[in-house]
């Protein structure tokens, strides 16, 4: 009887880990995020309790995990991407630890690298980028723009589509080169994936028709996707 925080990966159901899939197949209770692929939810036993989290807040999710965990059930908390990359998994394991409920974290494929990869972009590349900064774009006022504008290498923004115009303006205002290449990858690794590339100055306009979830990649590595050209079969990776 344990609560397993399992990373489901970035979208493509084939990117679940072997261990994660094994746990889903054996669980008593599956508590899953909204964007989890139907194929993964369907892997749970027919008589398992399934809880989609649309109508539940973070506190309610944590309380639910404690409740089911205390009843001695095997609970899989299936989260998009990796539980500890903007996944609020830390809050859930702290709630379990405080309640004395055993838990285990099973990491997942994060969007960090997998989503750019699905658009032909390696986030690190010898001679081009050996540093990556990962940041949440949902609250631009919380960010240190001066530090961010001058950071070397690749920048990957999560949850940045809504504020993309403001993000670009602040980066350029603080000295980031407006001609630097940028990409937005929406629904990365899934069948609905869409990618646009442009200069940093033009990326917000280029991405106007895209919908979340989306990742924004800023840096010279974006150019590599063009070198890979049409031979690249990375869009999308399917199981």
């Amino acid at each position: 009887m344990t609560v397993f925080l399992v990373g489901a990966g970035p979208g493509d159901p084939g990117l679940i880990t072997a261990r994660g899939r094994e746990l889903i197949r054996a669980c008593d209770v599956l508590v899953h995020d909204r964007l989890i692929a139907d194929e993964l939810v369907a892997e749970a036993p027919a008589d398992a309790i399934r809880v989609g989290r649309e109508r539940l807040g973070q506190d309610q999710i944590s309380r639910l995990l404690v409740l089911y965990g205390r009843r001695g059930l095997d609970v899989v908390r299936l989260k998009g991407g990796d539980p500890f990359v903007f996944g609020r998994g830390g809050e859930e394991v702290l709630a379990l630890a405080e309640a004395g409920v055993p838990f285990e974290v099973v990491p997942g494929v994060s969007s960090i690298s997998a989503v750019p990869a699905s658009a032909g972009i390696p986030i690190t590349h010898r001679g081009v980028s050996s540093q990556v900064t990962i940041v949440s774009g949902h609250d631009p006022d919380a960010l240190d723009w001066k530090a961010l504008a001058c950071t070397p290498g690749t920048i990957v923004f999560f949850m940045a589509l809504g504020a993309l115009g403001e993000i670009v303006a602040r980066l350029v205002e603080h000295g980031r080169d407006p001609t630097m290449p940028a990409a937005v990858v929406a629904s990365g690794t899934s069948a609905d994936q869409r990618t646009v590339t442009a200069s940093l100055a033009g990326i917000a306009h280029a991405a106007e028709q895209l919908a979340p979830p989306a990742l924004v990649v800023i840096g010279e590595v974006v150019r590599i996707s063009a070198l890979l050209g049409s031979r690249c079969e990375m869009i999308p990776v399917h199981a």
Copy 2:
């Protein structure tokens, strides 16, 4: 006939993706890194060609992938972690693209978050860190220490054990708080995992007995591992 660049994950063989394992089981040729778990290499068909890369340079690996790919074989290039996070996967896919050999990238669980997680450390945590900088420590002279010392949030160093004393000295010299918590996780997620935590000023001394591969985590998130305490079953995650 395709060359598949597959991320094997950080060490624990249970962290391979479902898609990656399926490809290994069906391959004609398996070209794998030195640190890949024996269990994963053993998943290849009995009659598959197996190539460990100990005695091969990066150029030779790329040439080998092109050669086998051109012969119409299904080739799995199995790489530690994720192919595009300091994995030189970009060089390999560029060589394949230039040679006209079809390829596909199957992302893996990167050490970025999985290795800190295996030591009870979430690299992002609400109210503590919403930014992560990932950097290679193998060549300290190549880094912008001023930018790195002032970057907010969590810093994750890859390949940093050899130069850890110098890394700490340069960060502190450029203004990073020497009392900030730090951790070194060696062989993360594997049976041999070892973790030490200390202040930034003390971490090089604390990690003296550890051997590569190791990840260095610097930031307030390191404190969360203590809150999770002995109830935390994250060390190590095994299949």
